[in-house]
């Protein structure tokens, strides 16, 4: 019932001194956040708890120095600004203002090789590059892209997307409804994502790579 790899790594619950363990926890959390927003309406409590966990890991990584802050551009800004806010973490990948975006744009946003250098968005160290002797493989690259995409929104765009009345999930749905085509109604489109996102528990991080790819595939081909 417990994923084998994870069980070995996470057998003790003291504050993990093991950076690999911490990194895998961070990766897992980001995937959870990303996948949960593929669902119809994510559980706010769960999202907030996961986002807080991510923030906590980031803080520790910052203190450790294992997450190196970028250079002079960001001098003077507090570390907290570098940390991803709940709102950004909880947002879906969006390419612009709230209208049905071009499917190609969204797909490319999700799959983009990090060509856009947003200040501070791609710090060195575990985030963007493979550590010594560590094979990053396909999965972490997807996570980095996801993270970059999430962070590449300017604060203005984020505020604009966010409606006071409707909560943070409105825009994801506008995207999905627009994406899946005019002919299809909302529930059908959402079902595609629900089935894509639904997976048996405990399948582990490697399975999530396949899941992300599958979801992206749907976005591109629909």
């Amino acid at each position: 019932m417990f994923a084998r790899g994870l069980k070995r790594k996470c057998s003790e619950e003291e504050a993990p001194a093991d950076p690999l363990q911490r990194q895998s926890l961070l990766d897992m959390s980001l995937v959870k956040l990303q996948l949960c927003h593929m669902l119809a309406e994510p559980n706010l409590c769960r999202s907030v708890l996961i986002a807080n966990t991510v923030r906590q890991i980031q803080e520790e990584m910052t203190q450790d120095g294992s997450w190196c802050l970028p250079g002079p551009q960001t001098a003077g800004r507090l570390p907290r600004d570098r940390l991803v806010s709940t709102e950004i973490l909880c947002r879906s990948a969006r390419a612009g203002p709230p209208q049905a975006p071009d499917p190609a744009d969204l797909a490319s946003a999700l799959q983009a090789v990090p060509a856009i250098q947003v200040p501070g968005a791609v710090p060195a160290g575990p985030w963007g590059r493979a550590g010594p002797g560590e094979s990053r493989g396909g999965f972490p690259r997807s996570l980095d892209q996801v993270f970059e995409t999430l962070e590449s929104h300017s604060p203005g765009a984020v505020e604009e997307l966010f409606s006071d009345v409707d909560g943070p999930y409105y825009d994801l749905d506008a995207v999905l409804t627009g994406m899946v085509g005019g002919a299809k109604s909302g529930p059908e489109g959402l079902e595609t994502f629900a089935s894509a996102a639904a997976r048996p528990p405990g399948t582990g991080c490697k399975a999530d790579l396949g899941e992300l790819d599958h979801v992206v595939e749907i976005l591109v081909e629909t």
């Binding site: 019932m1 417990f2 994923a3 994870l6 069980k7 790594k9 996470c10 057998s11 003790e12 619950e13 003291e14 504050a15 993990p16 911490r22 926890l25 897992m28 959870k32 119809a40 309406e41 559980n43 706010l44 409590c45 769960r46 907030v48 708890l49 986002a51 807080n52 966990t53 906590q56 890991i57 806010s85 709940t86 709102e87 950004i88 984020v158 966010f162 009345v165 409707d166 909560g167 943070p168 999930y169 409105y170 749905d173 506008a174 999905l176 409804t177 909302g186 529930p187 959402l190 528990p201 405990g202 582990g204």
Partner: protein, 446 residues
């Protein structure tokens, strides 16, 4: 110390039948269980939006052994799946909570809620019907006026008992986020509904307005780090209520003070134990349920691994802490991965506030006697529940040699979770929801 049941003042045994649906679908998963104020009725809500009410049999001299068992009294569809066109989202019909109103006449009233809408249902009996209408025939068809030559007075004649449920009020469009709690006020005129960020106060008679009494939504959602997880009115003081948060805190509010109760009157929080700190500390401290004791002197909270009892007069720490399944502490990473760490367990008091009960995994549920400090683990399962047999205490083996009848932590079935339980208000009868099965256990007589 082997047989805990000897020390508890009661021993539970199941009735002749275990109430469950014959074919198990997702919609049959029970999502809430609640006794009414006399214990005569027991309501369950499920994921499919249905409410099933059980009624206790009247004890009869002829059947001494059938000591007041529960049978189905009424079944109705409370909520249907809805589609929010503005957000392009489906609204689940799952019943999150049911709360009974105290009985004031022959009919029964209950509140049931899904994520967005609260409904007031009237459940009433009909055992007579009028017969002998002048303008309609017995089937209800209109009679040809030309054939009517005499006048008669309709009379009431007995009929087979029919129980009907009618929606009397629908309280909608007041919650942007998902409703997690409803609580009837002791004034019996108002009630509150709580979602992740807001709590609203309603009058039963008014459906198009509610007062917002708590709002913790930050101006900038980027700053959101805490949500409301549960809320309840004080059982006697109609101005007082509590709400719990995802950070493990409880706030007690007095409505006589400012209209918006964002400033709490009391703030309950236990200081964190630095030796137990991990990345999961906050998640496991998130409170999944909060309940006032019947006396109103204490509150009980449930977080992932423990149940805590707080004295209303002491805010800095709980007076009692009970370990529900501490053997899971070393498995938190795996439980985070498979999402079990987000399971929301409820907790209940017995009628005299001397025993508390909560659920766990593997269809286990736990009881803690506050006076004797004894605790017991019981299992709700068909195999172990032969009618009239006494429930055997279970034990989880945490390591080392596993004794016979013990179960090891790694063998626990995490898909069998008991999230919802209820305790009869005055007797030792408990209702335990295990996925789609409802178990009712009663105290051994004599």
């Amino acid at each position: 110390m082997k047989c805990f049941s000897r020390y508890l003042p009661y021993i539970f045994r199941p009735p002749n039948t275990i109430l469950s649906s014959s074919c198990h679908t997702e919609a049959d998963i029970i999502s809430t269980v609640e006794f009414n104020h006399t214990g005569e009725l027991l309501a369950t809500g499920d994921k499919g939006g249905r409410v099933v009410i059980f009624q206790r049999e009247q004890e009869s001299k002829n059947q001494v052994h059938r000591r007041g068992e529960y049978n189905v009294y009424s079944t109705f569809q409370s909520h249907e799946p809805e589609f929010d066109y503005l957000k392009s989202l489906e609204i689940e019909e799952k019943i999150n909570k049911i709360r009974w109103l105290p009985q004031q006449n022959a009919a029964y009233f209950l509140l049931s809620t899904n994520d967005k809408t609260v409904k007031l249902w009237k459940v009433s009996e009909r055992d007579k019907r009028p017969e002998g209408y002048n303008l309609k025939d017995e089937e209800g068809r209109l009679r040809d006026p030309a054939t009517i030559t005499t006048l008669r007075v309709p009379v009431l004649r007995p009929m087979d008992l029919m129980v009907e449920a009618t929606p009397r009020r629908v309280f909608a469009n007041a919650h942007t986020y998902h409703i997690n709690s409803i609580s009837v006020n002791s004034d019996y005129e108002t009630y509150m509904s709580a979602d992740d960020l807001r709590i609203n106060l309603w009058n039963f008679e008014i459906t198009n307005q509610s007062f917002n009494i708590v709002d913790i939504k930050p101006a900038n959602m980027e700053e959101l780090t805490e949500v409301i997880t549960a809320a309840e009115f004080h059982p006697h003081h109609c101005n007082t209520f509590v709400y719990s948060s995802s950070k493990g805190t409880i706030r007690l509010c007095d409505m006589r003070a400012p209209a918006l109760c964002d400033r709490h009157t009391k703030f309950f929080e236990e200081p964190e134990d630095p030796s137990n700190r991990s990345f999961f500390s906050e998640i496991i401290s998130s409170i999944s349920d909060v309940k006032f004791s019947h006396s109103g002197r204490y509150i009980m909270t449930r977080d992932y691994l423990t149940v805590k009892v707080w004295d209303l007069n002491m805010e800095n720490r709980p007076i009692e802490t009970y370990q529900v399944h501490d053997y899971l502490r070393s498995k938190l990473c795996s439980l985070y991965e498979n999402d079990c760490i987000f399971d929301k367990f409820e907790c209940v008091w017995n009628g005299s506030d001397s025993v508390i009960m909560t659920g766990s995994y593997n269809n286990f549920f736990r009881m803690f006697d506050r006076n004797t400090k004894r605790d017991v683990t019981l299992e709700a399962s068909r195999e172990n529940s032969k009618p009239r047999a006494i429930l055997k205490p279970r034990k989880v083996c945490v390591g080392g040699k596993r004794r016979k009848d013990e179960i090891s932590v790694d063998s626990l079935d995490f898909s069998k979770k008991i999230l919802h339980t209820a305790w009869h208000p005055s007797e030792n009868i408990i209702a335990v929801a295990a996925t789609n099965n409802l178990y009712i256990f009663q105290d051994k007589v004599n």
